[in-house]
Amino acid sequence: MKRRTFLHVLGGGVAAFAARKPLFAAAAQAPADQFFVFVHASGGWDVTLWADPRNERKGIVEPASTENTDPAPITRWKSTKLDGDTDTFQILAPNDVALRFGPGIGDLYDLRHRLTVVNGLAMNTVSHPDGTAFSATGRHLAGGHSPASSIDVAVANELGTGQLLPDIAIGFPSAYIGDRLDRRAIPLRVANAGTISKSLARSDIYLNDDDRAAVTALLSDEAHELAGRSTYPETFERVRSQEDALPRLLGNDLKNAFTAKALTDAYPQLDYKAKYIGQGALGAAFAVEAMKRNLVRCVGFALGGLDTHNQNYKQHAHTQQELFGTIATLVKLLDVTPHPTRHGAKLADHTHVLVFSDFCRTPQINLSGGRDHYPNNSALVISPRFKSGRAFGKTDEAQLLPADAGLAFSDGPRPISPPDLLATFLHAFAIDPRTYLRDGEVVHEMLV
């Protein structure tokens, strides 16, 4: 073979290898000791009760009032006259931050200095699955399926593959799409945090841990040998990597730490008996414990009960109060939990929380006394990488629809959309958004 031909063939081979290389390009520059918590407030929240508060009748906006809401359990509800015998709430407008809240914010109000609020998110959908997928992946569903990976998978793929459990999704709408991501970033999905422990539990009455270790070692060897014979070795190697992880997962220490009882005992500060989202609090406890043990990179969990079309809207503010109360407690726990690898640092300094919902609820009250789905949304970020105590984006006064955010988008004035928020979130950790997102523009104004 002539030298030129040889170099040409060699160059083609290298190019082909590069094209098949998994997408971990940003890992070298990105911080590898950060933790991420993603919360799906499932059902669609009423933003006028927390992030984008309204307490006046204007346009089609009918505010929460004593006619449609039960204010008794809402600790931040201070009444003010709406009309006649009807009261509404006073907007919480603290002097120390550029944020305004409705009473649904609950105890998270005390941490307002650390909150970054995004309002007027253009959802272009009023479907639960579609809104959820759009918020988590930046893409609308295609044929009922998510066409892109979710934010937790992207972060786990870049920063989490060295962890034993890169991505845990507890009822969280994770999506792992494509064949170029690291297989270790496949989210472990469970319905609730207690299930993880159940799946790992083994009785020692018949076979013991040593027996199981011998079985998994044998299976790992078998998978490796089959990979050498297979046309598709990566399939067997993937099984092998899963087999190799099993003994560490099945260790007694791990099994016992993640039972529902162990978690509730370890973190009694969380309200597991909250009326509407009590069970979801276990996800927050799991997140803190798993991060403290440096086992995970991302934990996603769902806090639900926000779909209130009928008379159940009366409890919506209460549900929000529980939701944000859980997040406030989570942040306070992170404040007192040491970082597992940074000596002297606390978890809160290196943990980044993103909270989103499917969409928001209609500004008007329907004939059943509830609010239906509406193509606007808000989101919440608690992260040292984001400018806190501020809100970005806005909605119009009369219709609560997303309005020009006043930001310098390259395609002209427009509202913020979920892909913008996700792109900004990835960029904050030196991850190239274009690797994972088709749409979205980094909003540099949000970042410190």
Partner: protein
């Protein structure tokens, strides 16, 4: 990966054509398993009660969950077939007699072949050359570990249960 139902159907068929609730009832005593409802999402199945869609990728937790079920059913089968000394034609999985004392290579190979055909669908002699030896080593290690211990199964029965547990989770069983 194939749909989770395929794995579950295979498990139910291997262990005597069980209905799902039969499998749950059989596997549950002594904490070997819980209820199906506890594992829907962990197994990758959709859970419509909480709007969780089907999982499209296998993962370690799924493997651990199937492993828990597989071990439970293998142990129960060893209890039923071997410990209760069922007649050969009424055995579910271990359709062979257990030799007295440690099996020789040939004795092990003949019995392993029965299990290999059940779980992987072809004779063990057609598999990779050192597979039988590898499983025999597993058998011997487990039997030695359980020797002298007071347990519900004899050391040999425990060892056959371990071999079954390995075969039921074998990469070929999972991928084909």
């Amino acid at each position: 990966m194939v749909p989770t139902e395929v794995y579950l159907r295979a498990y139910l068929t291997w262990f005597g054509g069980l209905a799902p609730l039969d499998a749950q009832n059989r596997a549950r005593p002594r904490g070997l398993f819980d209820a199906w409802d506890d594992y829907l999402a962990a197994l990758g199945l959709p859970d419509y009660k909480i709007d969780l869609p089907r999982q499209t990728q296998s993962n370690t937790l799924m493997l651990a969950t199937l492993g828990r079920l597989g071990e439970a059913l293998c142990v129960r089968a060893a209890e039923h077939d071997l410990h209760q000394k069922q007649p050969l034609d009424q055995r579910v999985v271990f359709a062979f007699d257990v030799p007295k004392g440690a099996p020789t290579d040939d004795e092990f190979a003949a019995r392993f072949d029965v299990l290999h055909r059940t779980f992987l669908g072809y004779p063990a002699t057609l598999g990779p050359p050192d597979r039988v030896a590898r499983f025999h080593a597993l058998y011997a290690a487990v039997a030695a570990r359980h020797a002298g211990a007071k347990q519900p199964l004899t050391p040999d029965e425990s060892a056959w249960a371990a071999v079954c547990t390995a075969l039921v989770q074998h990469p070929e069983a999972e991928l084909y």
